[in-house]
Symmetry: C2
Subunit: 239 residues, 2 copies
């Protein structure tokens, strides 16, 4: 079922009644499989649909004048990484897959109609974009003032928390098709330095990330190192 993760995602922060859920489930969705590193939408585009992650990962990113790339967010199944495009005409960043991924496309038109018809759903989607913004705030602080080791730790801690919460990470390992250069771009580091940080985390016995396999041996220390506190993810209190 294409909507399964999506509904779970929204219910993490917004309580909804049966008919709200049904209305969401009735949204027409067009499923598409994408290869690794495939563009979904790019800066300057004017999309007419939103993209919901069904399987795999995607990242939003920007290129600055010096040619370097910054990853702004990472997205997991259930996320709608470009929900902002529903009310912002033009994309201000790129969105592309990390590994192979499958996404569901939902037209702006059907989403806007649903928003007008169902304020509860509109509120949930709005809240979703607000949490998106909250994560950006945390990332500004992360790249702005944490040293590299803590910065990488925070990134991994957040990812694990979000994956676990969606039931997508059972034990302590995760399939994560991300190169060290990608990780570097997400943390505002160079690939070389990211490599050394990963080595440090490995020898410390905290996390081992190699060959697209992430193994978290000491999640408590990881969180503590990264100063990770899930408050900014705004999940409902009983989760």
């Amino acid at each position: 079922m294409a909507h399964e993760h999506f509904l779970r995602r929204l219910q993490i922060h917004s309580a909804m009644a049966e008919d709200d859920l049904r209305a969401l489930q009735d949204l027409p969705i067009q499923v598409r499989s994408l290869g690794p590193n495939a563009p979904i939408v790019s800066e300057g585009n004017r999309p007419t649909q939103c993209c919901q992650m069904i399987a795999g990962y995607a990242v939003r990113s920007k290129i600055v004048e010096t040619g370097r790339r910054q990853i702004l967010s990472i997205h997991i199944p259930g996320d709608i990484p470009d929900l902002q495009s529903l009310y912002l005409e033009v994309m201000d960043c790129d969105l592309r897959t990390l590994g192979p991924a499958t996404v569901g496309l939902i037209s702006h038109e059907s989403l806007r109609r649903l928003n007008r018809a169902n304020p509860k759903v509109a509120e949930a989607l709005w809240r979703d974009t607000l949490i998106d913004a909250s994560i950006f705030r945390e990332w500004i602080a992360n790249v702005g003032l944490r040293p590299a080791l803590r910065r990488v730790a925070h990134f991994i801690a957040e990812l694990c928390h979000r994956m676990r919460r969606m039931g997508l990470m059972a034990g302590d390992t995760l399939e994560l098709p991300m190169t060290q250069a990608d990780l570097a771009d997400a943390c505002g580091l160079t690939a070389v330095h990211a490599n050394r940080i990963l080595l440090a985390l490995r020898t410390e016995g905290i996390v081992d990330f190699r060959r697209n396999q992430l193994k978290v041996s000491d999640e408590a220390r990881l969180r503590q190192l990264g100063g990770f506190d899930a408050l900014y993810l705004h999940q409902s209190p009983d989760l």
Copy 2:
């Protein structure tokens, strides 16, 4: 009139009909004067109202485990820096004034009621929070991968653009009650280094920021240096 800047602000990105504007104007608002560096809301709070800037500046910020502070955004008259609190229960960052400021408080209840009654207005406010998020994205890229000089240049270029657009900056100077330490916190630098960067910008004849007075002598070079492109501010095309 307390709503003046606020309405202008919303109309920068959202076209609204007469009665939408009137509905906004009818929102009950409680005006309050604040001293410099005064807290408005803090991380962990559960506010029941939003704060609209009428005069002066405010910043949102976070403190991380190492004790350092990161400024996440700067707010000018017309902004609603904590609009996100309308649908996010608990504050994930602090909000405080920079210099003396006057703000207008609007209850969540009245805003939520207006949102339900008037979808056009709800859409405008939603869009406002989406632009807020877009600015965060730009800031992640700014602190993540620009060297200090460009970073400060981008910060100042953005501020000038936003002020000018609101009709709050006529010539090339601006009253800006911000210390060099504040500027450093906004750019993820130390105060000492921020000082040296400001010196460089001054001797280059680009901007002169001293004693709360910002003078922009060469805005073109400032923008070019900071790689500033207003796209991410999502103003309507005719502005």
